[in-house]
């Protein structure tokens, strides 16, 4: 077996997707009933950041600015893939594959306790 074949074999054998999800304990996610995906984001309104960042040697951790209203994020799922890791390594850290899915908190009108009939 050549080193290349070994590399390809390892590529397919190593679990290529390790992801984690952070969720709000008290919030409620924004819903999308047309989302029939078979994962923990089913039924939710999912926003996706899927890009490759080109970083300068002096750049630190990038900041993605997203519109999630005033109350914030309900759920954020970060995926790391082997191909992303290899890209990052081979580019000496200049290229960073980013794959994030997130769900915003469901909008609501009340900030304080809403009493009926209050102007």
């Amino acid at each position: 077996m050549t080193p290349f074949m070994l590399f390809v074999l390892v590529w397919f054998m190593v679990p290529v997707d390790y992801s984690f999800t952070v969720t709000s304990r008290d919030g409620v996610g924004e819903k999308d009933p047309t989302n029939l995906s078979e994962d923990e984001l089913r039924g939710m309104k999912v926003n996706v950041i899927d890009t490759v960042l080109h970083l300068k040697a002096t750049d630190e951790i990038p900041l993605f600015i997203q519109d999630c209203g005033e109350v914030g994020f309900y759920r954020v799922q970060v995926s790391q893939t082997l191909s992303g890791f290899v890209l990052h390594t081979l580019s000496l850290g200049r290229k960073r594959k980013v794959n994030v899915k997130y769900v915003c908190i469901k909008p609501s009108q009340d900030i304080a306790v809403p009493w009926l009939g209050q102007q």
Partner: protein
């Protein structure tokens, strides 16, 4: 103005992945983002949008079915013409006593108005801010309030009813005209004044029959726009599990008399739990079948106290493929299935690792996630029948099985809803849950299993009902008539009294047609075919 977007579906599925069918107009309404001086204007604006959609539906000769979280396992939320998703309609208010009727028995700061799309989690969140809580919820919190009451979501609080039993008023939209926005409450338990109805732009109706019928209305009593709920003072529950001998378990199930029992030493002899239920694995050897889960009311833990909370910091999930695999194995091989049910037991039975954890209702019955296709069938029974009924179920699970499911018993105080499945004075809920399966030479088809269960219960003269939001062999002959007898006609009469004639057809579905629920009441008001078993 509230906005409605429309898409279509070739094959709509509910949250639990059960295929339902095509939908020609799948509508989703969002609240207006115009600046309005009062949130009540947003509420009335949303009502006007719903009335517009209803008129459009009527003019096109189609049917209209509202739904929220789509958690029901039955086809209740499905309608092939027009389905309406309303979870974004989530306005909510606490109600001061200046809106109370002078005759009301409800104290100040106990009542709330929730728009239909609020989930149970949102309901609990607002109540918490005023030190209040729902008395009980279902096992989780993702149902919308309108969906939860329409199907009769319950927990297992032995002296409390289901979620629908916390409802004191309903704001329904039954057509396109101004008088078609109504607020209904019981004449025998008045809550809010006519000034309140005027405030929300509704016609005030006080009628026990109409309210009790509309309470579990199955989507057939118009569009539920708002729900007035009563709350209780916030309280904390401490949870335990305990293996229990079958005989001891059944004696408790039959009586709910805890005066001679010590469930948990720390809580003393004869203490009645707030929440109590059994999980049953009939494929385990005798003495190991029953596990009890119970919760006791306790004071709020002090800040210095170290207590285990019900919501974990990290929650792990089994591979969803395991349930698919189990279903395939049950259908195609089945040999040694009972050993594999240990996997199912891990997912369904409560874990004893966190015995003693303390939390509020909202914390104990927190979020759940999509876990692939699931099976859940629930029967409502009178308490005196539970021993015989659970004997029939576990016997069938052994003789006709093994099936990929485990059983359970819950307890709910009976409610006043005409078609509530918790209609027995002290309702015992007998259920089996697991993964759905298909019939083969190795295993009885799922619907045939349920049919045999129906037959055995009927042969033993045991009246029963079915949870509207769960699975059954719903197409079984005369099922609803057996379950509800004369109540069925009362429900239809109330529906025909409330709804404008032109809109009765709009608020129905093929599913209700199949169950015999969409037609007119019988003229003599009787129920010619009611079986003797109806209690």
């Amino acid at each position: 103005m509230a906005r409605t977007t429309v898409v279509s579906f070739d094959n709509w599925k509910n949250f639990h992945d059960h295929e339902q069918g095509p939908v020609s107009k799948f509508m989703m309404t969002e609240l207006s983002d115009d600046i309005m001086s009062n949130t009540l204007d947003l509420y009335k604006d949303a009502a006007a949008e719903i009335q517009r959609l209803l008129l459009e539906t009527h003019e096109s000769g189609e049917r209209f079915r509202a739904f929220g979280a789509a958690w029901s396992l039955s086809s209740l939320p499905y309608q092939k013409d027009r389905m309406h998703f309303n979870e974004a309609m989530n306005l909510r208010w606490a109600i001061r006593n200046n809106w109370h009727d002078p005759e009301t028995a409800y104290p100040d700061s106990q009542l709330f108005l929730f728009q239909c799309g609020n989930t149970i989690k949102e309901v609990s969140a607002l109540m918490k801010r005023l030190g209040k809580s729902l008395p009980i919820t279902g096992e989780s919190n993702g149902q919308t309030i309108a969906g939860a009451i329409s199907t009769g979501v319950h927990g297992s609080a032995i002296d409390q009813g289901g979620v629908q039993d916390s409802v004191v008023g309903l704001n329904l939209i039954i057509g396109p005209n101004p008088e078609d926005v109504v607020y209904v409450e019981r004449a025998s338990q008045p809550a809010l004044s006519t000034a309140f109805s005027q405030l929300i732009g509704a016609r005030h109706i006080r009628d026990d029959e109409i309210f009790n019928a509309a309470l579990v209305g199955l989507g057939a009593f118009g569009f539920i726009h708002g729900v007035v709920l009563k709350s209780v003072d916030m309280f904390h529950l401490q949870r335990y599990t305990k293996d229990m001998d079958r005989e001891e378990a059944l004696q408790l199930a039959e009586t709910l008399d805890f005066s001679n029992t010590t469930l948990i030493e720390e809580h003393g002899h004869g203490t009645r739990p707030y929440f109590f239920m059994f999980y049953i694995n009939p494929y385990r050897k005798k003495g190991e079948e029953f596990v009890a889960e119970m919760m006791f009311k306790v004071p709020k833990p002090g800040l210095e106290e170290s207590v285990t909370k019900p919501i974990p910091r990290v929650k792990s999930f089994r591979f969803k493929e395991l349930t698919t695999l189990l279903s395939w194995y049950a259908t195609n091989i089945n040999v040694g299935l009972t050993s594999l049910l240990g996997l199912l037991q891990q997912g369904i039975f409560p874990k004893d690792d966190n015995d003693g954890e303390i939390g509020t209702v909202a914390e104990h019955f927190w979020d759940s996630s999509y876990q692939g296709k699931v099976l859940a069938v629930s029967f409502g029974l009178a308490q005196q029948d539970i021993r015989q009924a659970i004997g029939i179920l576990t016997d069938l699970m052994r003789t006709e099985g093994p099936i990929p499911a485990l059983a359970g018993i819950r307890f709910v105080k009976g409610g006043e809803a005409t078609m509530g499945f918790t209609r027995f004075e002290q309702t015992c809920i007998m259920e089996f849950a697991g993964v759905p399966w298909k019939g083969s030479k190795h295993i009885i088809p799922q619907n045939e299993f349920i049919q045999r269960l129906h037959d055995r219960l009927k042969a033993a003269d045991i009246p029963f009902t079915h949870h509207w939001g769960k699975m059954s062999h719903w197409a079984a002959d005369d099922l609803v008539n057996y379950m509800y007898g004369e109540r069925l006609n009362r429900w239809k009469e109330a529906r025909y009294t409330l709804l404008p004639a032109a809109f009765r057809e709009v608020f129905t579905s093929e599913y209700l047609d199949m169950l015999g629920l969409s037609g007119p009441p019988s003229k003599d008001g009787g129920d010619d075919d009611a079986p003797a078993a109806i209690a």
